[in-house]
Point group: D2
């Protein structure tokens, strides 16, 4: 169980870290300052400068071969293992736009996996190719306002067969990335057989972002922030026609696609969350040694040593668990690795939220202000406790896997 940085990936990590710190971080600030400055006043339009920042950085990354690291067991990707990718993703997590610069950002990576593994040739030509180039972006559309997402069997947006098409009607929200003007395609979960067996009710469709009948109701806000231009959109589907060819895998196989997609997606989020926690600890320490009160650096006051030590220990443990989950994916496959993925999905965001919160507190009110990146980290990390399944659902998975050994044993007696 080699969880260390391989010789192959070590120089890549070095180069990614260097580019993130020295080239992306300075522009990230400018990119965010541009939000809302489009002449139209529309926060979900990008300014020329935003396009330019991303284009330049992406071109640099591609030139250097720092591109598409995520497609871990495909000939199209870099051929990295998930463990190797973890080290890269952690670095990318430290700065807002970094993951996109390397074409490794959600929800695109997950969607590309869907096209790669489950899509038709047509899907791969039309959408995957452009996504792999970083030309367009995509969205993944599952959550609905009317139902508890913890029980996805309740998803209600209906897809009714009509001739060679399916006709989609209903509402979705938290469609992350659907606000981006470059978002061209969405993968949409819909009920094709609402009265069928629980896990065969749903199917997955490929839908162009500009398909007729899709109305953008509003951007969902995260703690009062709209996360423009990326956005988490609330959408209404009104008689949206999707050709039958754009049904993925076949009717009733929505859960199969979702599971295949969500495993890697979940762990990628966690890898980046660990990077954020690491960044927050760095900020905490820098503050603690440079700020003084009562004649001492604040590091030496109150429980601050304990707070710093706890943060270090919790990050260290979460990283190791993340690497183990990655290792399991590499060796026994995503399905068998599920309990570990669930574990890290619970652990990483909670740990990172806590470290960021402590970092805030050590900064005083500066810690929740625009003068540190901590609040943006907090928003992302807090959201992550719902995204791809709330903590409670994942704890349930872990417990069931744990208990199974004993119930099987009992049953066999």
């Amino acid at each position: 169980m080699n969880l260390g940085m391989s010789d192959r990936v070590a120089p890549l990590v070095e180069r990614v870290r260097d580019m993130v710190e020295n080239e992306i971080a300075p522009l990230d600030h400018e990119y965010h300052a541009e939000i809302g400055r489009h002449p139209s006043g529309d926060r979900f339009q990008m300014t020329d400068r935003q396009y330019e920042i991303l284009a330049t950085l992406k071109a640099t990354a591609r030139e250097r071969g720092l591109w598409n690291f995520w497609l871990t067991d495909s000939s199209r990707g870099y051929g990295l293992t998930t463990v190797e990718y973890a080290y890269l993703a952690e670095e990318m997590g430290k700065v807002g736009i970094a993951a996109e610069v390397f074409n490794c950002s959600a929800p695109d990576t997950g969607n590309m996996e869907v096209f790669e593994r489950y899509g038709s040739d047509a899907h791969r030509q039309k959408w995957l190719a452009r996504l792999l180039e970083g030309e367009i972006r995509s969205a993944y559309v599952m959550t609905e306002p009317g139902v508890a997402s913890s029980d996805a069997t309740q998803i209600a947006l209906s897809a009714r067969r009509d001739g060679g098409d399916y006709v989609l009607n209903g509402e979705k929200y938290w469609a992350s990335g659907a606000g981006d003007p470059r978002c061209k395609v969405m993968i949409v979960m819909a009920a094709t057989d609402p009265d069928g067996p629980k896990h065969a009710r749903h199917s997955m469709f490929v839908v162009p972002r500009d398909a007729a009948g899709i109305e953008t109701v509003r951007p969902m806000q995260v703690f009062g922030n709209d996360d423009a231009p990326h956005g988490h959109m609330h959408l209404k589907f009104k008689d949206v026609r999707v050709p039958a060819e754009d049904l993925i895998l076949g009717e009733g196989r929505g859960f199969e696609v979702a599971q295949g997609r969500l495993g890697p997606g979940r762990i990628h989020h966690c890898m980046r969350a660990i990077g954020q926690a690491e960044k927050a600890l760095e900020l905490m320490c820098r503050r603690a040694v440079s700020r003084t009160a009562f004649g001492k650096p604040i590091a030496e006051l109150g429980a601050n040593y304990d707070i710093i030590a706890n943060a270090r220990m919790e990050i260290e443990m979460a990283r190791l668990l993340c690497l183990k989950a990655a290792y399991m994916m590499d060796t026994v496959g995503t399905r068998q690795a599920q309990p570990w993925i669930s574990q890290i999905k619970v652990v990483a965001p909670l740990m990172a939220c806590k470290v960021v919160d402590e970092a805030m507190q050590i900064h005083g009110a500066t810690g929740i202000s625009q003068d540190t990146p901590l609040y943006q980290m907090y928003h992302k990390l807090r959201t992550l406790r719902f995204a791809d399944g709330p903590d409670a659902v994942h704890r349930r998975q872990v417990a069931r896997a744990e208990l199974k050994r004993y119930t099987n044993q009992k049953a066999a007696e």
Copy 2:
């Protein structure tokens, strides 16, 4: 130690609750929707509708005698005890603008106390009268970007005597309420004798908001929100001249004024925090009984019973502690009640943050979105863990009070 609702205050609580729920809550939503709609585009200008909402509600409150409850042991106020006020403040905490409607909002109440107890007749005529009428608003200006607020003896904004004036130079931030167009006066802490004995270096000044030389650098943001039009402003003082008559109590007495002001201010925040926690628990329960997953109300799933029970127990205990601190203020005075005030200042915001966080989690992503008031509560409550002293400083106070008994005993041996 009667901590219950007195016969005198019970009908007032009933009337305040009723007005908050039925009259203020509906308009609160509209008030917030108006933010940023001023024709100038300036978020720190209020729209006509905003003025109207506040004016109408305030007039109603005054007419009904629901006004200025907070001035607890003054002939100008209602004559309530702090315990009685706690029950009212809790209700006001449940809706954003409610406290202001009853002229009981921070930082005005604290500032009015300063004018009442430490101000000159001129101050009382010029500022206190209009504040008591709810005509103008005020700010309290202490925190500085360059120094750790936990050690207020480091405050550096300088006030140099020059003839009949003091001349103020330096920077302040987190001046809450200084963004409000109706804010007319500020109470400002400045160093008059920076090399003097630690607690005699500072003095407190009354400064008009529009005094020459005060520049508004920017609004500080709380988790990306500017809290307009109220605002937490970053201000630059450049040769701001303040007549010596506007020095409060005398040179070197800044800490005396600050302590007298902050005791009640701190507990008022806590009372409202408890109201917010109570509101969050209500939302949590309503969600838990009305939303279903896996064929059951989510109340019955996972650890939700425990989460709800823990929230109830923690609110109950925090409220009782708050009432006891209030009782101590009523009976032994603010100074002697200090350890209890510090206790509740640590407990209430932490508890309320936790309850709100759990309420968010039970709501799913809705819980962090604009569809519930939870995120606004969270911002306020998280800020409260810094405002008027960070948790660490208050824990220190509590521990020192506790240990004193034994060190005194040892010394006496």
Copy 3:
């Protein structure tokens, strides 16, 4: 809601505290040292010195009128309110044998309440009188090895009617106090109608400790300690005949008796737990100011200020919650006060375990050794998290009470 110490009870508290500290504490040590020194080698026999210690202290307490405080609303008792009793019980909790010295110890108080409220005249003459005198002791026998106590409807010890008698067969354990050689009577829960409606299956019987057919299997140990001579006994009932007159209230009314008994019993435990936490905090502070490391009192090292402050705040809150639960019992009755009793039943032992654990840690290894009373406190407090219902059951009660308001509302819509 007067939660303070009444004028009536204040001098009693003073006298109890004084006697506990100055007269009982020194002998408590000797009493415990005597355990296991009976010539027979039987740890469940008391030595002459043990009898003498208890007899002398009890006589003193009676003479001074410090006796039977607990029978809160009966003419036989002191006529105290539950709130008043709370202040006394807290003091008694601080030293091992103190509660018994004042004839206020479990399980006798609860059993006396049963005789007082539900017993026959014969029961009162035969058992209650001698218990009120402190001559004999008693046990309450409910828990069984074979069933989860959280669901008491499963209790299986059978009581079959046979002529004028009931015949009891089955096993019980954790019969606290049944090891004491002075224990003469037990109140035993048994199934009279195991297939009846859930809450009417059980009945409560008065059974002499020496009834034929009761075998003492073994003492249950608490963390390896047998708590002799009090003991938590494992008993076997083999054709134990109980005359029908010793059935309390009537067949099927076991739960009614249990509920009436357990409410006050639970809160008495909590009151004493708070006394123990208070004692542990005192020990923690004394150690923190008297022991040095790295040239400073350990109070000033690491997170110790925070640990002490947290302990103070948590004790303060738990005490207030306990007093409120007591107040509810005094004003609305035990049944209506149930949610508050459940709250404090969860809060007090958990809080006290935590404070004791922190006190241990500040003491270094001394904290878990025989050189402090902390480990005995820990054993009692940890046991309390099971006694009279585990935490989970009480949280469930609290949550149900909380949710009821909203489900009722929903049902009414």
Copy 4:
């Protein structure tokens, strides 16, 4: 960073696990039942049956080559890495006497390391050889009643040079293993130059257990248990003469020896702690699926799924951290691995205490009784939070290592 089970160690782990479960566990129970049955009544004498149990098991282990795994980088040992040893130690942690059966128990392993690395040839011949054979046992004697162990520079037992001897005077306690009748030698820390520089005051001596002048004051108890016959003894040294040849390494090098000894010792404790947590989780799950309440297995009630999932996640993370610390020891050496050893020393006992506590709670009162091994685990694990340095000291080490990077950087600016 290969943290997995190597091919070399995997079959050893299998054989150790098998022997622990099937051969040691059944006899462990009998061994403990024998405690106190020595005809003399002395709990610190072993019965014939106890000798027999250990002798038989040890002989079996040796025959199978399951012996002395711990001497990780010496020609005398098995030649395992620390990572490999971790997997073995975890299995041995699951049952009380298992570690000794494989000659891998504290404090002998640490003491053997001292003899091996720092001892003279004479020490190795006289003591090490017999310890490696498992013929005798040993103790490590550092802690003193009068001083806070967190600051070992305060250690006061004096060693005064007198001719060819040192003369030792003072008191020690918590000398673990010094109660065992087979304990023949002790390594004792003493002050040779109490006014010298802080870390050069102390020296380490080899002292026969039966040296003249050593009085056994009493066994220290852990939560009321004397842990006989092993014991944690309180010893008085009165003019104990030690030949100068039995000074280890030289005067003033006591800290050097202690650090060299404690690094591996600490992590071995942690490895076994993880085994205990794993065992506790197994017991928790078995109880949860086999016990019913309210018509369901208790696994499905309340927060039990969450409790089980949290236990699994915390064990998983602690194990990985332990393996990483082991890996650092293997690759960069004990000294450089210090921050990781401190991390796991904080994490493992706290985690394991928590898991055991939850396991207790799920068992109901059975969980703290003699009917499960949980209470013995709890005692050991709680002790471990003091042994070889309390949590606070290790957190301090971790924080200092973390902050150093930034202070160095600041200093360099």
